[in-house]
Symmetry: C2
Subunit: 121 residues, 2 copies
Amino acid sequence: MRKSVSGVLATLEHVGGFASAQELYQLMHRDGAKIGLTTVYRSLQTLVEGNLVDILRREDGEAIYRLCGENHHHHLVCKSCGKTVEIEGGAIEKWAKTIASENGFRDVGHTAELFGTCANC
Amino acid sequence: MRKSVSGVLATLEHVGGFASAQELYQLMHRDGAKIGLTTVYRSLQTLVEGNLVDILRREDGEAIYRLCGENHHHHLVCKSCGKTVEIEGGAIEKWAKTIASENGFRDVGHTAELFGTCANC
DNA sequence: GTGAAAATGACAATCATTTTCATTTCTGTT
DNA sequence: AACAGAAATGAAAATGATTGTCATTTTCAC
Ligand SMILES: [Zn+2]
Ligand SMILES: [Zn+2]
Ligand SMILES: [Zn+2]
Ligand SMILES: [Zn+2]
């Protein structure tokens, strides 16, 4: 694996959760890495193509990345105050698998997010 | 309701499924409507705030809109050839409601999409 | 009719992402 | 080592959706 790619991968491991390309770029620079923003984008693309990293979207459309195989969960987000609860998605995982096999699909991933108004709002 | 807002709403009804702001703007112009792109965005924002319209994201991050309460379904998309299957999401609807009430959330909506490789690819 | 307030739209600004392209680094060959 | 060609890099420009600005128009209550 290219040095730039493994550097981005290491940074993603270090943050633990989600991070955008811009955030990763800033983090790497704060740690003294000499990598360009373009290369961060290219490395992320490589990692996504190699199924090492998942890509999802923030609510504003910005792409965020996370390691595959990590503690997989979903989110329940309050539209008003932003409060976020991490959700175990067992039921959804099962559903995704069922639907996939019913339709002859392989290597099926999924996104699922819940959003509403929390008790305080 | 403002004229511009109901115009956007009508266009969204007419297309039936998902549409981006830019697409709606073009459609409305093709039909002779004199509405600015800015107002299309503002009307969509109003509709989303009024819970008349849902907002999701295309894979490239572009925002797409659809009427709430319409024949609600999810998608199973082939990453390779783009083949798309519409999915009845009964199990997900139930899951969303359960999670929401367990966490004291109200007015909970959700997004859920499946993506993989179809039998032909 | 008057004037305040809301709505509109042209245009500019913003911001993530992609493209371009010149330069640097790598890799194998003589 | 010297060389050539390929791959990788990054700075800067281009792109494209979305948002902000602000002068003008429309609406509405009095
Ligand atoms: Zn809240
Ligand atoms: Zn899941
Ligand atoms: Zn396919
Ligand atoms: Zn659903």
